[in-house]
């Protein structure tokens, strides 16, 4: 069992590589269970009346795409199924392309959804929290036109949308700062509108305190598991579901590494104690 602590770490890298690659090729299809946080997000979308307008903010870049893209796609799809109108914003510049990619992927499935009527991409704005606050006072001043340069008054979806009062909820897919934290601080805590969304696994523990009795955050999709849960809830398995087997095996391998590391440590300690005693 003893493994040299100075083992070349490239062997560990190789093991991780195969542990992730093999389950992607040979899918086992282990079960997926949903958590309360994922169900809260789903319930919010399900309970929003058809025809309502929501903001979905793409606050991530390709670096977090594997985690956030599947959940964003599942939520957008769920909104389309419920005839909820979507206004896309991005606090990260690359979020604009991420959103465009999702809408183009969903286009064949929802050919009747028209740009400017059922959804609109407002593009990227810098400024983080200050910009979110400015949107609450006058949305049109921050977004005078959409991503194509079409003036806001020529977009039917935005008729009557002046500020957060005309929005049902905000959903942010966030890889860091600016992101979901700022949306909670302004949109929920200042304007009293529900905020929900998804975050990367790294930021999930730090964002969870907002999911509380005051509903500062209405549920949370955390990492690839959260994305797989939402895919399960909307009965639309995608890349997140396909990745869960690989995730399981990789986690198991990491736990085995931790166990081996500890066994080595205690064995060395015992040997040192014995040597000292002699």
């Amino acid at each position: 069992m003893a493994i040299n602590k100075n083992i070349d770490r490239r062997w560990i890298f190789l093991l991780i590589f195969f542990c992730v690659a093999l389950p992607l090729i040979f899918i086992v299809g282990l079960p997926i269970e949903t958590t309360e946080n994922a169900r809260l997000v789903h319930d919010l979308v399900q309970n929003t009346p058809s025809g309502s307008t929501v903001i979905i903010s793409f606050d991530y870049d390709p670096g977090s795409k594997p985690e956030l893209h599947p959940m964003a796609k599942a939520v957008v799809k769920n909104c389309f199924q419920r005839d909820i109108k979507i206004m896309v914003t991005a606090l990260w510049p690359m979020g604009v392309q991420m959103a465009a990619d999702i809408f183009s992927q969903l286009e064949p499935e929802f050919p009747d959804k028209a740009y400017g009527i059922d959804y609109v991409n407002m593009g990227y704005k810098a400024g983080g929290m200050v910009t979110i606050q400015a949107m609450g006072k006058n949305f049109r001043e921050v977004f005078p036109s959409d991503v194509n340069g079409t003036p806001i008054k020529e977009l039917p979806i935005l008729n009557g949308v002046e500020n957060y009062n005309n929005i049902s909820f905000v959903c942010s897919f966030s890889a860091g700062d600016p992101g979901i934290k700022q949306w909670v601080q302004i949109v929920h805590d200042t304007y009293g509108k529900p905020v929900t969304g998804g975050v990367t696994g790294v930021s999930a523990p730090g964002i969870l305190p907002y999911v509380n009795e005051q509903k500062q955050l209405n549920g949370l999709l955390a990492g690839l598991k959260g994305a797989a849960e939402y895919e399960f809830l909307v009965k639309s398995p995608g890349t997140a579901t396909a990745g869960m087997d690989a995730q399981s095996l990789a986690h198991l391998l990491i736990i085995i590494f931790i166990a081996i590391g500890n066994i080595n440590y205690w064995r060395n300690k015992k040997n040192a104690a014995n040597a000292g005693g002699e």
């Binding site: 870049d61 670096g63 606050q133 921050v142 991503v147 969870l208 736990i255 590494f257 500890n262």
Partner: protein, 231 residues
């Protein structure tokens, strides 16, 4: 003037923003609204400053032939290519100065800016961060040792959360009867995240929040001046 005027600006702007929260009517609400729009525009220039600064640093490294300088030529060339194709033919949704790039797009399938983003940048960015998967596994083997009560707690929480967050966790304890459902690994992971993790993170959040409030007040009142730089 070089130091006092900026301090006065910071004080006035900060105070107006705070007052407008309590008196959202004219003139405070209007002024703070205008300041927020100005902030957005100035932020745009600040981003340009960041990119120009990067160019300057790289240019100087090349000029003085610092170590590995040829690699910085690659940085400048790729920056120049991205900006040039973006300004000439625009992005997916924007016209460039040479038009909408239909000719080029019909040849390569999308505008050059988007082609570079989709086929080069996107992969570089995603791969760069995925490297950490290998290092975290290696770190788990070398550093996650149960030496004290604290490290034991850290280790046990990590293992339970890792198992509970996968389908494997559901599979391993899925056979437990309903009366023992609290021992089901996904439920244990959810419990840890909802209660002890939230307690710890909330303590950090409150501590950091109080620190940030203190710093903001020190800046507004002119006690903290490091953002002005040296004389």
């Amino acid at each position: 003037m070089k130091r006092k005027l900026p301090l006065i600006i910071t004080f006035c702007v900060g105070i107006i923003i705070i007052i407008s929260e309590f008196i959202p009517h004219k003139p405070f609400g209007q002024i703070s609204g205008e300041l927020e729009i100005w902030f957005l525009i100035i932020s745009g220039f600040a981003i340009l400053l960041g990119q120009l600064s990067l160019l300057k640093v790289n240019f100087l490294k090349i000029k003085f032939k610092q170590k590995n300088w040829p690699f910085f030529v690659v940085t400048l060339v790729s920056f120049a290519i991205m900006v040039t194709v973006g300004i000439f033919w625009g992005t997916e949704s924007n016209h460039g100065i040479l038009g909408n790039g239909e000719g080029v797009a019909s040849l390569i399938g999308s505008k050059p800016f988007d082609y570079l983003f989709n086929n080069v940048y996107q992969h570089l960015s995603a791969t760069m961060f995925s490297l950490l998967a290998f290092f975290i596994a290696s770190a788990a083997y070398r550093a996650f040792i149960a030496r004290t009560v604290e490290s034991n707690l850290l280790l046990i929480a990590a293992v339970l959360v890792m198992l509970g967050n996968t389908s494997l966790g559901s599979f391993l304890t899925g056979w437990l009867p309903q009366s023992l459902s609290f021992l089901h690994l996904p439920n244990i992971a959810e419990f840890i995240m909802k209660y002890p993790n939230t307690a710890g993170q909330r303590a950090i959040m409150i501590g950091a929040g109080l620190g940030l409030i203190g710093s903001s007040l020190r800046i507004i009142l002119g006690i903290e001046r490091s953002y002005l730089g040296g004389e």
